[in-house]
């Protein structure tokens, strides 16, 4: 009996430590202060593809459904109701019907109805008259056939094909419901939502202020009176402000691996957690430009990537190895180590890979006396430049004479899209840890985000197949099959997934960092201050 009680107590303490939720009642009030690393381009989540916008403004909105904010892993099993009280799938799994919550009001007092959901999807599908200026996630909704409003409190979304992970797309921080009565232009500067916090102001280079929504439909939430997000562009300055106690927490994943040691030594009370950022570093090879149109050459390049060195230099050995989907243990679709190691170019014996790569290059006529000149193009940002420099060094070992081609960030995509590059070093961010996001966005032939225009009928078929598959185990098998095919085709060789830290002081309670996405967990309605 005693041992059972001890075990129970230990479990409670462990849970408290992980979730930050104490046994005592949550306290109401206070202002959560944290900093932002830069200005969000606008306040409109639907028009942006950066976590800089989602992070501060997710708390202004509600979705139809949401990833449980108190569970660290995002998956189909952790999706909970939000503005939709419940949902049901049709027998053919092609229609999902949402029953909407009654009595919900927008922050300006107008009632929320199914029309707002309809308007949101009109925007996302590009059907609205006064549309979005940018619609970066339109590709997510390519499978929607129709959105039907059944009265004020019911919406049915009809799909062209069954898509089990459709709900995961709706549960992302990227999928808030917008009001019909506020124009997209106004949403870019003065967003109106139904969420736990109302938008107060956004002064560029200064501050974003949100205030508690007293009419929030979820009784007793939020706990905080306000959220104040200060924009501090200089990393040294903002970290200094955090360790000096001016902020309750850092911006999410703003603390790099080397910096985390400094923060913990200067602010020993701070709680810091390292986790994946959902961003992966990858190699773009222009398969249309000679001599890179030769699959053998591309294969040699893939073999020459020494992922361990990247990990040691950039991540102090904490990054690990992965395919295109986020790796285990956090990633829901990650492959076990032995499967990853069996992919072309991922073998443990790097020297063997290197020898094979050299042999291929020699077969193509290159060698120590005849190197192949190339430019590795990348954006003029440190997180791009650093791995690009390492890559150039690694390619030297297989007779490439590389040169760094730093491209102004304003013309990067245009340059890559029109094929004006040989080799590029790229970063790709994933909002939802699901193949329907990653593969569809980055590896399908017609996606606007498939920069290097990789196009394979086989991969298209497999992507469509996994999307329809309801059985999770079978779907995973197809996903791994796609991973193998992508690695074989040297589609966009993945170098590593990034990791970074978030820190906060112990008086901030209720923080649960999602382990497989940084885009879906900043609702902040459960966070409170124990001051």
């Amino acid at each position: 009996m005693r041992s059972k009680l001890t075990a129970m107590a230990a479990t409670i303490v462990a849970t408290m430590a992980v979730t930050g939720v104490p046994a005592t009642a949550q306290k109401q009030g206070g202002t959560l202060k944290y900093y932002h690393r830069d200005n969000p381009p606008t306040t409109s989540i639907h028009e942006e593809a950066t976590v800089s916008t989602v992070n501060p403004f997710m708390a202004v909105f509600n979705n139809l459904v949401l990833f449980d904010q108190q569970k660290p892993s995002n998956s189909l099993d952790t999706i909970v109701p939000d503005l939709a009280e419940s949902w049901t799938w049709s027998v053919d799994k092609k229609t999902v019907t949402f029953k909407l919550r009654q009595g919900v009001k927008w922050h300006d007092g107008k009632p929320f109805t199914s029309k707002d959901v309809g308007c949101t999807f009109d925007l996302l599908l590009g059907k609205a008259k006064d549309g979005l200026r940018l619609n970066p996630r339109q590709v997510w909704y390519h499978n929607i056939e129709n959105v039907k409003l059944n009265g004020d409190l019911e919406v049915a979304i009809e799909l062209k094909e069954p898509q089990p992970s459709f709900l995961a797309l709706l549960a992302s921080g990227y999928t808030p419901v917008y009001p019909c009565h506020v124009s997209p232009r106004d949403m870019r500067s003065r967003p109106v939502g139904t969420g736990p916090f109302k938008f107060l102001e956004f002064k560029r280079n200064e501050v974003i202020k949100l205030a508690r929504n007293p009419d929030y439909w979820k009784k007793g939430r939020p706990y905080l009176d306000a959220i104040e997000v200060r924009v501090i562009a200089n990393r040294s300055t903002r970290i200094l402000a955090f360790v000096s106690g001016e902020f309750d927490m850092t911006y999410d994943t703003d603390v790099s691996i080397p910096l985390m040691k400094d923060v913990q030594s200067q602010a020993p009370k701070a709680i810091c957690q390292l986790r994946p950022t959902g961003v992966y570093v990858n190699l773009l090879v222009n398969s249309e430009a000679a001599p890179f149109n030769d699959p053998k050459l591309r294969h040699a390049m893939a073999l020459a990537i020494d992922r361990k060195s990247f990990d040691d230099i950039l991540g102090e050995g904490k990054l690990g190895v992965s395919g295109a989907m986020q790796p285990l243990p956090e990633g829901a679709w990650g492959m076990p180590n032995e499967v990853v190691r069996s992919l072309p170019g991922y073998g443990k014996d790097f020297e063997k890979n290197l020898a094979e790569a050299r042999a291929i290059m020699q077969g193509l006529g290159y060698g120590p006396d005849k190197s192949l000149k190339l430019k590795v193009s990348t954006r003029d940002i440190a997180i791009y430049r650093d791995p690009a420099v390492i890559l150039i060094d690694q390619l030297k070992k297989i007779y490439f004479d590389g040169e760094l081609d730093v491209v102004d960030t304003t013309i990067w995509h245009r340059k890559v899209t029109r094929g004006d590059y040989s080799v590029g070093l790229n970063l790709t961010g994933l909002a939802v840890d699901d193949p329907d996001v990653n593969f569809v966005e980055n590896y399908t032939c017609n996606s606007e985000r498939n920069y290097n225009k990789y196009c394979s009928a086989e991969v298209e078929r497999l992507i469509a197949l996994q999307s329809k598959e309801a059985d999770a185990a079978k779907r995973k098998a197809i996903v791994w099959q796609i991973e193998r095919k992508l690695a074989e085709d040297v589609a966009r060789p993945v170098i590593h997934f990034q990791r970074a830290g978030t820190c906060w002081y112990p008086h901030v309670k209720g923080i649960v960092l999602h382990q497989n996405s940084i885009y879906n967990g900043s609702r902040l309605e459960d966070v409170w201050l124990d001051k």
Binding site: E206, R230, N234, A241, T410
Partner: protein, 315 residues
């Protein structure tokens, strides 16, 4: 004098017109516009949507028409709307000007009150220990990068001493704000004071060797009177010139200081606007800086006549 004033004013207008054309053209020569950047930030390329956006913002019109639209708006006090926040540019720019003005004013104040007297002392005590010390200090002021000095100051005053917070909230009282700004102003002023000190020293050394200084000493004038009434007054013209140049530089050149100390002023805003190719903001701010520079230069020229009665512009 009247003719000179009119001539100078006409020159100022011509200079500003030239600057307006140059900045307008240069901005459009730089690769990428706001549409490119917005789509780039969203990680996508969609030519049709990009063209639509360019058309909405008037970026598809001929450059001459764009210029006339902008310059006529500027003449009416209408700076247009910022491309990024879609708010009136004037509303975005105006609150930032006093912040930078206070910072620049304080920095210049520190630079003058330390630079000029220490320059005089250094010249008068030439080749003494004090002179060597002051010269080393001034040299360090010129050679320390301002971002590094700024970070050191932040570490000391914010983290270790806890005397000031990072500038996150604008204090309600002017005095509190000036106290908060005094640290970054001292960091910026250090470089400017070093420059002024070195120039004051060399200018003073030249004057101190003149016959009339010897005459002043011979007739029994006090050391203070010789150094400040006779020598400094005659050495002050190049110092005024450099103070004028520094004043103009400070209005637009506080980028690093505003970034490191997190001060929401004009310079940082301008850099961000350039990054976004936010033409209305960049053009308006550059014109504002140009007006300040031209005006300061004009005032410096006027100051010559006041300080040295021998200077008569009409002749």
């Amino acid at each position: 004098m009247g003719t000179y004033l009119i001539r100078r004013l006409l020159m100022m207008i011509l200079t500003l017109f030239g600057i307006s054309v140059i900045i307008f053209v240069l901005l459009r020569v730089v690769p990428g516009n706001i549409a490119d950047i917005l789509f780039d930030a969203a990680g996508m390329v969609n030519s049709a949507e990009k063209q639509k956006l360019e058309s909405e913002l008037g970026l598809d019109k001929p450059i001459a028409i764009q210029y006339v639209t902008w310059i006529s708006g500027l003449a009416r006090g209408d700076l247009g709307y910022t491309y990024v926040s879609e708010q009136p540019a004037l509303e975005e720019i105006l609150p930032r000007i006093p912040v930078t003005a206070k910072l620049a004013g304080l920095a210049l104040f520190f630079a003058i009150i330390f630079g000029v007297p220490l320059g005089v002392v250094s010249a008068v005590r030439q080749n003494t220990v004090l002179d060597y010390v002051l010269r080393v200090v001034s040299l360090s002021g010129l050679s320390l990068p301002s971002f590094w000095l700024g970070l050191l100051i932040l570490m000391a005053f914010v983290h270790y001493l806890g005397w000031i917070p990072i500038y996150t909230n604008k204090p309600d009282r002017l005095w509190d704000e000036l106290v908060l700004l005094s640290i970054p102003a001292a960091a910026v002023g250090f470089r400017a004071s070093a420059l002024i000190m070195r120039l004051t020293r060399s200018s003073m050394l030249e004057v101190l060797r003149q016959d009339y200084i010897r005459t002043a000493r011979a007739k029994g004038a006090s050391r203070v009177s010789v150094n400040y009434d006779h020598a400094l007054r005659n050495a002050v013209l190049p110092i005024i010139t450099i103070i004028g140049i520094e004043a103009a530089f400070l209005v637009g050149g506080l980028i690093v200081t505003e970034t490191v100390f997190n001060i929401p002023g004009v310079a940082r805003f301008l850099v961000e606007a350039i990054r976004w190719r936010d033409y209305p903001v960049v053009q308006s701010l550059v014109m504002f800086i140009a007006v300040v520079v031209v005006t300061v230069n004009f005032l410096v020229d006027m100051a010559y006549a006041v300080l040295d009665p021998r200077i008569r512009y009409d002749n």
